[in-house]
Symmetry: C2
Subunit: 724 residues, 2 copies
Amino acid sequence: MKRPVKKGRVTIPGQEGMDDVIAKLIERWGADAIRDSDGTKLTEYAKSLTDKVYSKYFFSRGDQNYARKNQNRSQHFYLMSERYTAKEEPLSIRMMDTYYDRQVEPEIRYHPSEWWEVIDRTTGCVLGTDQWEYDEERMEVVIHSPSPWHEYTVSFLARQLWDPVHMYNSLTNGWDVEPHMPYNPFFPETRDYLLSRLEEWLDDHPDTDVVRITTFFYNFTLVFNEEAKEKYVDWFGYGATVNPEAIDAFEKEYGYRLRPEDFVDEGYYNSPFRNPSKAFRDWISFIQDFVAELARECVSRIHDRGKEAIMFLGDHWAGTEPYGSRFKSIGLDGVVGSVGDGTTLRMIADIPHVSYTEGRFLPYFFPDVFCPGGDPVAEANDNWLKARRALLRNPLDRIGYGGYLDLAVEFPDFVDRVEEITDEFREIHDRSKGERPRHLSCKVAILNSWGSLRTWMSHQVAHGLWHKHAYSYSGILESLSGLPVDVTFISFEDVIETGIPKDVDVIINAGSAGTSWSGGDWWENEVLVSRLRSFVHRGGGFIGVGDPSAVQYQGAYFQLADVLGVQKEVGFSVNTDKYTDAICRSHFILEDIHEKLDYGEGTSGIFQLHSKVQILDESDGEVKLSANEYGRGRSTYVAGLPYSPQNARLLLRMIVWSSHKERELDNFLPTDPEVECAVYDRERKLIVINNAWSRKAGAISLPNGKEVRYDLFPGGYEWYELIP
Amino acid sequence: MKRPVKKGRVTIPGQEGMDDVIAKLIERWGADAIRDSDGTKLTEYAKSLTDKVYSKYFFSRGDQNYARKNQNRSQHFYLMSERYTAKEEPLSIRMMDTYYDRQVEPEIRYHPSEWWEVIDRTTGCVLGTDQWEYDEERMEVVIHSPSPWHEYTVSFLARQLWDPVHMYNSLTNGWDVEPHMPYNPFFPETRDYLLSRLEEWLDDHPDTDVVRITTFFYNFTLVFNEEAKEKYVDWFGYGATVNPEAIDAFEKEYGYRLRPEDFVDEGYYNSPFRNPSKAFRDWISFIQDFVAELARECVSRIHDRGKEAIMFLGDHWAGTEPYGSRFKSIGLDGVVGSVGDGTTLRMIADIPHVSYTEGRFLPYFFPDVFCPGGDPVAEANDNWLKARRALLRNPLDRIGYGGYLDLAVEFPDFVDRVEEITDEFREIHDRSKGERPRHLSCKVAILNSWGSLRTWMSHQVAHGLWHKHAYSYSGILESLSGLPVDVTFISFEDVIETGIPKDVDVIINAGSAGTSWSGGDWWENEVLVSRLRSFVHRGGGFIGVGDPSAVQYQGAYFQLADVLGVQKEVGFSVNTDKYTDAICRSHFILEDIHEKLDYGEGTSGIFQLHSKVQILDESDGEVKLSANEYGRGRSTYVAGLPYSPQNARLLLRMIVWSSHKERELDNFLPTDPEVECAVYDRERKLIVINNAWSRKAGAISLPNGKEVRYDLFPGGYEWYELIP
């Protein structure tokens, strides 16, 4: 087959003084759009080389004149001090102990006695304001007569002195610049200013085709420690959305007042791994309302000038919630986001209510990777292999790169490799002609405390980053991102209030006990467990990973142990003998699995509840993988599922077996688990991709009784014509 | 030095038809006492060969005539059925599903509607008696209109048809005998019968010098499943002490009525790994009162005949509680128990208020070990090495063996090895002349929910048996059993009510989160945590193993994280960055440790709380061993401590460092961690033992500046004279 066109669907970053390089890369990578980055500008010549010019735009930072003059309209965090243990004397708590004094400072424009909270963490009691005072000069809270040997914390309002992303970019690149101080559009004056500044900026940028909003108003939660190293990061966090005016407005609207503890949350700051409190969920709604309303106004002014408005998925995106109910109203043309893997690709590609999506591929052209000893080609390859399988399921409309070109061009192999990747990307679009490939007739629902609001977002600490306590679960989404099944996200509340959606075939509950992903206390809800039992008993599928349905309650730890056929020993039933039946070595789920299974961190203490459950793998007498029949339904358990091509195949088989659809794998299933394919029935095409860095040769059965034989280079791919 | 005397302090089992063998073994093993076993009798000749004759005596089983005629005075359990999930129809629960019908049957002499409980385990609600009925013929409880998809259990009173130890012995040895049915002395008639039968028996046994009570009235909890395999075992359990009359009497005395759930405990049956409820603790007191009073009466009748009364530590020992407040009143002359390791040896040897203690060494002469392919010598060696180091700390007065001689004599190597062991045992007594060896000036307290009642008993599922969920903690007691430190056991209640004993230098809290050994909810108690912080801050030591002070409360998982310097990630603080400082490779605690440390099951997710803590070992960026200064005190953390000679040395160093007594290890510390010594100052003797099965040569520094050089065979020992 002939290679498709060499141009389009690609955005590259520009940079002053590199026009020749830009022109060459536009040619080689087939770019049709050019963008600026934080700290760079585009020349007129550069702008003339592509069909479209993207210009970044910051709403709540960048105008230092305004910021300096309006320090009473800053952005804030609620921060918690370290825990201090009292001795038999007054206790002084230095709140700034572990914070970076160039990023934040205690806010005293709002009186500490009204806006701060001192808590005895040994009893959970809030101290009366007569029991402590704030020493402004020493930046210490002094508790006059603490209970000796109790621990105390101060929750204090902290003003943001340096926008965290500007700070990160500045420190990482060694910029000698004035810290950008964020300002807060929750103040009507600042809102007016933002809009008029936008109008001015639009006046000044007639060449701009696309305003790349980077981003709206509030950054995700990102706080640094006293050494300017990252201290707390929550890509989904609302930490920076706090300010007293908003809290007052919230009280008027919701009828109750939020406490500092509602934000500080014992020091966990409403991590997405926590079951969200009602107060926090209300706050998310409140901030979404505010952000969506103002964002809509901004977008409409951009549209009025005939320009497109796209949003960067990240940075100041708090409250935009692409999968929330207010997102549509913002009216964005597109979303561009960083593709860290298949999961983050789907997080971008699946966003509703936009005309197009664009993925910024990794590595970012930053000196942490583009440095002596760095291997950007390896990063690009790893990124592409994970992204490609997800792209086949739901292609992004565009891809691009970010950062500083002068760094990238020092690595010619990398420039070559990006040329291949951009070609391969365009080829998918050109050959599929917009058709979505065939998928199995089963729909998978991920069940957790967040549901659809966190579509493709579960088990993530920060964008796409590996985390020891998450990778054994985030592998589920990563596997699903490239599997030929429909995926939906539902919450416990959804199930309790409206039941399990009729079109769902298999439900997955995965996570560590007590987290929002597993569900914690939700599992004491009788409606929830009854509906799930009934669903499976009538023929549905259930897949548990790690600590599914886990809460210690009424003699059970996994509340759905009857459905799963396995239970977990946490120490209370050690006196009950455990018997492990023989391993079942031949099972539909285990076909294609030839290497030792990898459960990541795994889960220990899992034992069979009865001898009817089929143990598919065990270690030290404990169950690692099992399958159970429950009424007319089926359930499987796995101790952990980090992403690997083999585990993706394992999950596919678990899904298909759990939904009784084994026959659907009779065709179009490559013999190697590392190889996947996508079938375009209308276009009569088949693409086969090799997800491994070794050569793979095998076969794919076709419905007509024939087969396609493939022989793929490491990481390679091949298109085939399908003859009916 | 000359070998000491060859006779005394040893009891051997006798058996009919083996008089020649017995005579030879008495000579070779130096036995001065002979005993019968379950199923054996002694001949007149055999009895004439030793100074003393022990006769076993069973109180609550053995007279089948009485048992059959008095089935209304049986013993019982409260058992819980399996969990049944209701569908949209009446639910039948077969209570005997997973029980052995020759061991138990549902008791209907006491009306089910009054004595049983049907519980909806999905809501925790108890069903009204109008909602279910018992079908006697089918042995099923029928719930008329259950809530669909809820789980239900029946807690039912079960009559014991077969004494569990008699059953175990019968099945293991293949005896074809009528099951011994236990009878219950809580009935005044049975009490009278027991006493009169004892008098008769004493009349019939004029040759008996020592009545070996095997044992009193109620067996530890031991329940078998439908295949006659062990289903539930709790060596410390009170399951078999339940009966309706006792529950009525309890109500009169304690002023409240116990429910079936107080015994069934969600199916955990008050496992010692559970924090004991008030009801269960009251029940233990109530049963202790009853058992001690009747046992005292029995013992006094034995004494009246001029015989000694010793109790077997095990079997029907429920309620005797050797470390309880009523034990002294029983007036026993001695206790004999099975020595599974150093811990169980100390459990016997440390028992107060008796004139002597005797250890029955392993292996027991039973066909499970004494069979083709069995290796009784290896078991005896392993047993002896663990026991010997504990023996040196607190010697048993006597040792012995049990079981069937005809099995043992088939293994001549074993007979030889026992001859060496009995000699070595007597030599310790002969050379030390009753002196207890020198110990360090620091006292260790094990802190858990049970305190002194479970002295040397924590983390045990069944006597001395390895358990995956316990060995990483039971290694602490096993290590301590042979270390030169005083050990005491205190409870959280002790600390809260009366404070930490003045003579305690180091406190150890060890266990899995939520268990009675770690403490669970106790750690929310402000007095407890305050007293511990104060204790350490003023100079005390604290050692945490596994999940010390663990309960999720007020933003902390380890409540004493400030003392320990480490905290555990359980999923809520994944957004907080963790930094691990460099490993500290040179530390007092690590001296002598040359092999990779073994933490058993270990504990994951441990991270440093601040950079002042010293990380002594880590894995995957997580802390495994650490040391922290807290005020004038010190604290150490270790992820698990299964027993090994190296871990015993590690624990010794942790204790000594935590109590600031490093100088006490300047002398009398063998250079090999596998070698230990005991110093008898009065007798001016030193014994050096090799706890490893490899030859060890090294040195021991003496206070006079000289040193003892040792060169020991595998498992060997040597005595030395100390010149002042």
